[in-house]
C-alpha cells in the first residue's frame, strides 16, 4: 500500500523522526482553519500517490488565512498525472538550510535491503543518479543483521552529508531503518530530509509503501490508512470484492487464473492486434461466485467491448468456471460478447456446461491464440 505523504509522516513521527507540524484537510475551509491553528507561513500540499506534484503546482505557501484558503481551493480537484487531489496536508512552512535524500528499500538483486543517502536532496533521486552517481551512497543491509552503526555512518559519509549534520542524520537513518523493518515497509523514502536553520534534521516529505502481505501484522495501521485511493470505479469495486484487478487502457476485458497466465493473455491480445482493458487474476481454485463477481467487474468497465476469459485449470476446476459464467449472465446484464478458453482440470465438463447454456455473444475457443484473435475481432466489430 502506497501511503500518502501525511500518512507516512505520521508513522515516521511515531518512531521519533522529526516532522513539521501539520494537519490534513479535505476542503478550503478546513485548510484555512488548520493554517490558522498552525500559524503562518504554511505550506498547502496536495496529497497524491505520485511524484512531481511540486512541479505540477500541487504545493503552495500561504502567508495568511485568505491565501491558505485560496491555495487550497486551487489545489483541490487538480489532476496530477491522472491522480485527482482530494486531500491536502497543511503544515508549517519549512526553514530550509540544506536538503538531503534518504531511503530504505528492498534490493531484489542483492536479496537484502538497501539504504541510500545523498546530500543532494529535494530533486528526484533519478536525476541525481543520472548526473552524478557518486553523489548517492548505497549500502546493502543484511536483514538478519540489521543496520549496524558502521553502515549508517557509511551512508552519511559516502552520501557526503556535511560534518555538522552527520551525527543527527545518522540518528535519523537508524530511526528510518527501524520504521522500515517494524512497519514491514517496501519503501521508506524521505526527500527532502532537511536541515533547518537551527541545525535540526526534519523529514519534509515522506514516501512510505507498506507490504500488503504483512497487513495481518499491522491491522491498525492498515485500517487507519486504508482509504480507497483508486481513481477508477472498477478498481474500487474489485478491491471491495478482493479481486486482483488492474485497470488498463484497451478495449478487451481480461479474466484469467494465475498472474503469469493473465500477463501472457494481455500479451497475446496485443499480438492479435488488440489492447487489454484490464488485468484480472481470479487466483487458484476460484469458485463460481468469484468468477461471477469478476465477470461483473470486467463487464462494468464502459471501455470494454469484448471479454476474454482464459482459464487453464489446475486447482481451478473447469466446471466451476463455467457455472460462474452462467451465473453472472443470469445475475447481471452483460452487453459485451465473451470468448471463453477452458483447458486443464475438468475443462471438458466446463465446456459441456457452457454448451448446455447457449447465449448470444458467448463463444468458446479451443486455444489461447484463437481465443485472443476472436476477442479482438469482436471488440473491433463492436467499436
Amino acid at each position: 500500500m502506497d501511503l500518502l505523504e501525511y500518512q507516512g509522516k505520521q508513522l515516521l513521527r511515531s518512531v521519533g523522526v522529526p516532522t513539521p507540524e501539520g494537519e490534513a484537510a479535505a476542503t478550503p475551509e478546513e485548510a484555512r482553519v488548520a493554517a490558522e491553528r498552525i500559524g503562518f507561513p504554511v505550506a498547502i500540499k496536495a496529497q497524491v500517490q505520485v511524484g512531481g506534484r511540486g512541479k505540477a503546482g500541487g504545493i503552495k505557501v500561504a502567508a495568511n488565512a485568505d491565501e491558505a484558503e485560496a491555495h487550497a481551493a486551487a489545489i483541490l480537484g487538480m489532476d496530477i498525472k491522472g491522480h485527482v487531489v482530494r486531500r491536502l496536508w497543511v503544515e508549517e512552512a519549512a526553514d530550509i538550510a540544506a536538503e538531503f535524500y534518504a531511503s530504505f528499500t528492498i534490493d531484489r538483486s542483492a536479496k537484502r535491503y538497501l539504504g541510500m543517502v545523498s546530500a543532494e536532496g529535494g530533486v528526484e533521486i533519478e536525476e541525481v543518479a543520472a548526473r552524478d552517481p557518486e553523489a548517492i551512497a548505497k549500502v546493502g543491509v543484511n536483514p538478519l543483521v540489521g543496520l549496524k552503526d558502521n553502515a549508517a555512518r557509511a551512508l552519511a559519509f559516502r552520501g557526503r552529508i556535511p560534518a555538522e549534520h552527520r551525527k543527527q542524520v545518522i540518528a535519523v537513518l537508524q530511526k528510518l531503518y527501524a520504521a522500515f523493518v517494524e512497519l514491514d515497509a517496501e519503501l521508506v523514502e524521505v526527500n527532502p530530509l532537511i536541515a533547518n536553520s537551527r541545525g535540526e534534521i526534519v523529514a519534509l516529505d515522506a514516501k512510505v509503501t507498506l507490504d500488503d502481505n504483512a497487513e495481518y501484522r499491522h491491522k491498525q495501521v492498515f485500517e487507519d490508512f486504508h482509504e480507497v485511493f483508486a481513481v477508477d470505479p472498477q478498481e474500487k469495486l474489485a478491491k471491495e470484492k478482493n479481486l486482483n484487478y488492474i485497470k488498463l487502457q484497451g478495449e478487451v476485458g481480461i479474466l484469467g487464473n494465475g498472474a503469469g497466465l493473465v500477463m501472457s493473455t494481455l500479451d497475446v491480445v496485443a499480438q492479435a492486434g488488440g489492447k487489454a482493458a484490464n488485468f484480472l487474476d481470479v487466483g487458484g481454485g476460484a469458485s463460481a461466485d468469484l468468477i461471477a463477481d469478476s465477470l461483473e467487474v470486467v463487464a462494468g468497465d464502459p471501455q470494454v467491448r469484448s471479454i476474454f476469459i482464459n482459464i487453464f485449470g489446475g486447482i481451478t476446476r473447469g466446471e466451476e468456471v463455467a457455472k460462474g459464467i452462467v451465473a453472472a449472465l443470469d445475475r447481471v446484464e452483460i452487453s459485451q460478447p465473451i470468448v471463453v478458453r477452458l483447458d486443464g482440470t475438468n475443462a471438458e465438463e466446463g465446456r459441456e456446461i457452457l454448451a448446455g447454456n447457449p447465449r448470444e455473444g458467448l463463444h468458446s475457443s479451443p486455444t489461447m491464440l484463437e481465443a485472443a484473435a476472436k476477442a479482438v475481432e469482436l471488440a473491433d466489430a463492436a467499436g
Binding site: 528492498i106 536479496k111 503469469g260 497466465l261 493473465v262 500477463m263 494481455l266 488485468f279 487458484g284
Partner: protein
C-alpha cells in the same frame, strides 16, 4: 534421478491436516510420490489416510527419514515452518504458501544461505518430475516423462506450456515452479545450473516475467555456462510500470524489469525466445 525430486524423495508435509495440504499431499501420493509424514503441532500421533502426523518436522524426519519438506501452512506461519524445516535435517524445502511478508522471506533467504539448503518458492506450484514424483500442486495429467526441463515463476502459465509440449509429444524431465515473490529460495539461475548438470535433461524451457533482474542474470549464465539449448519466454510485455501484476515480484520499477529487456537479454545470450506459449512449444518441437 531427476533434479530436486524423484523416486527417492520422501516428503514431510507441514500443514497436512489443513484442507489444502491434505488435498494436495494425497494427490502427490496418488501420483506415486513418497509422502511419509505430516506435521501439525498438537496433532502428533494422528494420521491422515495412513500418513502419520508429528508435532515437529525434526521428529518426522527422525522417525520417517523424510528428506523433503513441503509447506502448506497459512502465510502468517509459513516462514516459521520453513525455518523449522531448515533446522530439521531435510535437504529441500518446497513452500507453496502465498502471501508471506517480504521481511520474513528476506530473513529466510539469508538463513537458508547459512544452512546451505535449497528452497523452491514460496508462492509457487512446486516441482514435478513426471513419472517420478510430484511435490506441490501442479496438475500431473498434462505432463509426460521426457527430456525437456522447464523452469518458471508462474503456475498456470507453466501448465499451459507443459500442456502444449505434451500435446506435441514432448515430455519433461522436471518442471520447476520457482514462485512469484521477490525473495524466493531458488532463482532461474539455480535451476538452470541443475538442469545443465542433469544427465536426463537435453534442453530447457525458461519462463520469466516482469520484475527484478533474475532473467538477465540467468541470461548471463546461459551465455557463459550452459551447453544445453534454452528456449525462453517472458510474460508481461503489456504490463504498465509501477503496478504489481498479481505476483508480489511482478512489477516494473521505473524502467527496470521490463519483459522487453528480459527477452532481449535471453536472445543476446543465444536462447530462442517464443512470443507466446504456443510459439515456445513450436520452437522446442522444431529443435
Amino acid at each position: 534421478m531427476a533434479i530436486y525430486v524423484d523416486e527417492t524423495t520422501k516428503v514431510v508435509v507441514s500443514g497436512l491436516t489443513g484442507r489444502e495440504g491434505q488435498f494436495h499431499a494425497l494427490r502427490n501420493r496418488a501420483y506415486g510420490t513418497q509422502v511419509v509424514a505430516g506435521v501439525t503441532p498438537g496433532k502428533g500421533g494422528q494420521d491422515v489416510e495412513g500418513i502419520p502426523v508429528f508435532d515437529t518436522i525434526a521428529e518426522a524426519v527422525e522417525v520417517t527419514g523424510a528428506n523433503t519438506s513441503m509447506v502448506f501452512v497459512p502465510a502468517p506461519f509459513a516462514a516459521d515452518a520453513c525455518f523449522e524445516a531448515a533446522d530439521s535435517g531435510v535437504e529441500l524445502i518446497v513452500c507453496i504458501t502465498e502471501g508471506i511478508p517480504a521481511r520474513d522471506e528476506a530473513e529466510l533467504y539469508q538463513y537458508l544461505r547459512l544452512r546451505d539448503i535449497a528452497m523452491i518458492g514460496p508462492n509457487c506450484p512446486g516441482v514435478l518430475s513426471p513419472g517420478k514424483a510430484n511435490v506441490g500442486i501442479m496438475p500431473t495429467e498434462i505432463a509426460a516423462p521426457g527430456r525437456v526441463g522447464l523452469v518458471s515463476r508462474s503456475g498456470t502459465l507453466t501448465y499451459q506450456i507443459v500442456h502444449e509440449l505434451t500435446q506435441r509429444g514432448i515430455g519433461q524431465s522436471t518442471c520447476v515452479g520457482i514462485g512469484g515473490d521477490p525473495f524466493i529460495g531458488q532463482f532461474h539461475i539455480d535451476v538452470l545450473r541443475r538442469f545443465e548438470a542433469d544427465p536426463e535433461t537435453d534442453m530447457v524451457v525458461m519462463v520469466g516475467e516482469i520484475g527484478g533482474d533474475e532473467e538477465e542474470r540467468a541470461a548471463e549464465f546461459i551465455r557463459d555456462s550452459m551447453t544445453k539449448a534454452v528456449v525462453g519466454y517472458v510474460a508481461g510485455f503489456e504490463a504498465p510500470p509501477g503496478k504489481k501484476m498479481g505476483h508480489a515480484g511482478a512489477i516494473i520499477s521505473g524502467s527496470k524489469g521490463t519483459a522487453q529487456a528480459k527477452a532481449e537479454a535471453l536472445e543476446a545470450a543465444g536462447a530462442k525466445v517464443g512470443r507466446n506459449p504456443t510459439e515456445v512449444a513450436e520452437i522446442v518441437a522444431g529443435m
